[in-house]
Symmetry: D2
């Protein structure tokens, strides 16, 4: 008869990791993903709360699935974390991420940061978007923006990965191949997106109170959401380099899409309906799909489809489903992902797998 | 062309009323019910907030449906309220209700109190259930417990009506006729109930945060919820007097039911599945239904049915749907109501109609 | 004590109406709206089902709110309907609407048709969109497209009103004032829309089965939905006539927007996030809002706001809330309505009020 | 770079299994659980549909996670299944399960049947509950009722396991230890239960249509649901044998609980609030909890808690959370499980693990 205390056994040979800030939704998602991971385990849960909580009291769904020892959160002690772990996932506020990343890196702990602290290459852009100065510009330089499918080789060698935002992940995966193939114009891109409420975090708020968010739907942050510069950065960084098709046309202007998110009455999932102008009137649906298929044919987590995906198709998977078409003179791309998996903790594990020399898909299928 | 500022016109001859505490869900529900009421209007919105809000900023769904003047909340000024209104609805915390009721009554303003302040006849029971002393025992004596169908004549002459709790309304309407007909025993009654989240109020809380309440269901306050003494009081007051069937048996013991509420992932509605022991093994389904039909045959808001009701059958109506049967040796009664209408603001207007000499159903069909 | 059989009394002087096809969601909504209407009642429920159902068996929420006689559906008998009613609401399939409209009109019964049968002026466009020929072109010519705010005077004198589609209502109300004021270009308009599931009707389908629609979100009919020609017709009919601003510029090309609807996991409500190109780089948010305010300042059901509306702001009201802004080089307009009220049965009653000489807002506030 | 076609690789040494009837919710759940299982894979998807579907067309969320070959459903060919698989999971209608079980067993394929075909020991009881005769009484005799925690040793040696129903699993796990410890009486047990809609299957129905099930809650099958005899059988089989506490009291009467299920507006999860009479007035909360803890202290999937569990605590896990207390003279036990996991496919894999000599928790943590 198995014993409850062995339910998530110490996997011999598995890599010990830490989670800093495990009491939010991305922390819980990491714990659950890593619990099924054959080559990685959580050796240190670090919380800034005093007293540090037991994670299975915070999330009773972990009851019986972690040993009592594993369920105890401890203080954010850099030495102790470094002694116990090879890699740390940071699920902290942006400012706290900038505080704890340097001491962890200096102690040889690899870092996957799920906050926005190291995502934007330009500290000035960061400050405008997030409203406070960047306090760790040195590490900002060495951070690798971990949109895995587009940065796989750099991630493999990174000490610090800035895990992408949920909205930007889907937008970049949808658009970069079309931009690189010069099938759509860089100007006048509209990223119309909708996210489940878990994307807004775990702190109660009036507009996220059940009787107000339930049966409701709304646009928010129209054109001014702080994920916009991150989307623009990815489209510029990967979408407008030398054309992959060998075109001799000059690189087009840097994309600066309009980003309009909406709040959905559901727990998790992001659907983006993206509008762009085809480069010319002869651009076809088939060309768009061919470009996406060519870009992702060997990717385990990207599914290019002939029909528009639904959120249910991707929830609780690390997959992004893509569909593109030309209709009414517009290119329309629909992208679906789970905001807590590929949009956060799943991609974090995907990146950690690469950083640790593990199979990229380990724990994620 | 009609003008927006006239959309909810001053109805000539209609009774001016006040709402104290209009920024919660029962306040909003009152405003919307009274807006359609042919003989009553809201003349004073009184809020303790400083500065007093505009109610259509608090609830944008009121935009364009109230004039700017009608949308302004004002201070809780007893003289001003008395000058403007004949009746006040109190949607305040219990303690505040005990503070504002005496000065309103003394100024000749009738009061329908939607808090629990005046519901329990015994101040000691109140203090045990609510955790603070009763500060207005004088008015407690004269308050009429306004379960309209069971107290119609007293309500008609009341100056102060204690509007019943949401759970107790359905439980009493379901059980009283069966107890009076001596069809079920008073001991071992179980009121298993489930309510939508609006019943928990408008203040954000962790367990009511959308991603936690959504797709969730749980029991709470098992056997210790403060609506239990209110249910027991109604069953005792109305259920165990001299039997309506002319029985010579002695009155049975006072009912003291087990009350177990649950939280449903939906906005509004209460369903109670009530278990009781038939008085003897010959009690039939038909007897239960006949007793309910006899009690409610002329009631506009009580529907006795042959099938179990669903919440959708009663949402946004002032109706209670009832179904009863004997099965497996138990009497099972299912009662459905809208917690914000018959369970709160609808019944408050029903009571106010009687207190003001208006048709009981005005504004409620 | 009031009697249940009088709960919805025959209103003296009120206009008798018929509902053909009352067993769907628009039928139920009509019954509930008219039940509160001071000047109109339902005198004839006509169903094609054999045997004709009792409507309060079909919708138990009507139990106790209609007399037994009022709850009986009868056959679709044109003579009987004409003998009993002055106006008929048709909630029938498109083909059935074309079958029953001529005999009702010829018997002097005014018709508000909630199907799409008479919405598109051009029978050829209708046939392409709906896949069957138009069988009543004669009445198509005399039908008035009843987007009330834009067609009030024609509706007042109409015998046959084609009640607009849910999506087109919001889109036209949002865009027409901006097009008329020549603030946005007619080309490259994108109507990104999302609707609750009630918009898809009452027949069970796999994708609308609760466990599949719940927690889900998806785009459908991308660029090919049959409401697109209806939107284009309204924008052309009302948006590109002689400019209201006295401009001497030639009328622009007919708008042919891209329309992309999505399916929301909620019962009711439509939110449209509409993208258009400002006519020039100096167009401002203030200009957009001023144009909307000017168009709707005296409208009881149109609310122009400074913040983006949510669905909760309009559910179960006949109101449309509008917000517009210029951001990132785009004009973005957000429109919210209840698809069953202003998008269907509410606007139908609004039109019927005008056709019958009743106050336009009667029963709708 | 990993290849999509290898995403769910053939695990060397893993056991090949078949799923008959994979196009329902239990089939999908099995596919997803087994995809993460280190010692088992799906080698044969067998569907009665003609033509047999691709499972990743039926469930697009499987796109990219199964190879094209693995995604093809094939006919229900007993020889082919026996050639390819050691064990078959049957997710078929009851009658079809009785048809396909004998030929599979006779070919040496172990069977875990998720239908009700082999759950009730008495064919006459089966026929009354399910309305058709039992056509395979021979195998009914050898079938092991697979409530794993209570039948572990028999399951280990079974060729045919009748996988328990969703409601009966939670009810038996909650009550058996209390009955065995003679802490509650066998008469007057009430199992008040509520399930998510996935428990009603994947076929669209009017009452499961999204706009009708959403925001709704109702009791159904009150006292007559066909899981009642299954619950009674388990309580009798395991609850009223010789008392585990050494009591010399005679075995009590066979339990015949009242079972009242409700339909919740959510996808998955069952919460049972169970009422029973303590054996005497001295029975305490502590005794109930001690009995549960003693019974389950070494169980990996049973969590005995001091607080009432919520559905969110168990969704998408194979765990059952239990809480018990004595209050108001009643014993109240709350049990939570995921109806598709411990209530169906998870327990099926748990049983299959035992039947195949694999670790019981494999694939389930």
């Amino acid at each position: 008869m198995p014993s409850a205390s062995q339910t998530i056994a110490l996997k011999s040979g598995s890599v010990p990791t830490a989670i800093l800030g495990p009491t939010g939704y991305t922390g819980l998602e990491l714990i659950e993903i890593i619990a099924r991971h054959p080559g990685m385990h959580v050796a240190y849960l670090a919380s800034a709360r005093v007293p540090a909580p037991r994670i299975d009291h915070e999330f009773p769904r972990l009851r019986g699935r972690l040993s009592a020892a594993a369920a105890e959160c401890r203080a954010i002690d850099h030495d102790a974390i470094a002694a116990a772990c090879r890699l740390a996932f940071l699920c902290l506020p942006h400012e706290a991420a900038m505080e704890h990343t340097p001491p962890l890196l200096s102690r040889g702990v690899k870092v996957v940061d799920l906050s926005a602290a190291y995502r934007l290459r330009d500290a000035a852009v960061y400050e405008r978007a997030y409203g406070h100065p960047h306090t760790d510009p040195a590490n900002l330089e060495r951070a690798v923006y971990g949109l895995t499918e587009l940065a796989r080789d750099r991630v493999r060698n990174a000490e610090l990965v800035a895990n992408p935002g949920c909205y930007p992940t889907a937008a970049a995966l949808a658009l970069v191949p079309l931009l690189r193939a010069r099938l759509v114009r860089t100007d006048s891109i509209i990223v119309n997106a909708a996210s489940g409420v878990s994307g807004a975090g775990r702190s109660p708020k009036q507009n996220l109170h059940y009787p107000e968010a339930n049966e409701n739907f709304s646009a928010y942050g129209i054109g001014v959401h702080r994920h916009q510069p991150e989307i623009a950065q990815s489209l510029t960084m990967w979408g407008v380099g030398p054309a992959s098709t060998g075109s001799e046309r000059a690189s087009p202007a840097a994309p600066d899409p309009l980003f309009v998110p909406h709040l959905l009455p559901l727990e998790r999932g992001i659907l983006e309906t993206i509008y762009a102008a085809p480069v010319n009137s002869e651009t076809t649906t088939e060309q768009l799909r061919a470009a996406l298929r060519a870009a992702y044919e060997r990717e385990p987590f990207i599914v290019v489809r002939d029909e528009a995906p639904t959120l249910r198709d991707v929830q609780r998977t690390n997959c992004v489903h893509l569909n593109a078409r030309v209709v009414g003179g517009h290119a329309v791309v629909v992208a679906a992902e789970d905001n807590l998996v590929k949009g956060a903790s799943g991609q974090a594990v995907q990146n950690a797998n690469l950083m640790l020399g593990l199979p990229e898909t380990a724990g994620l299928l």
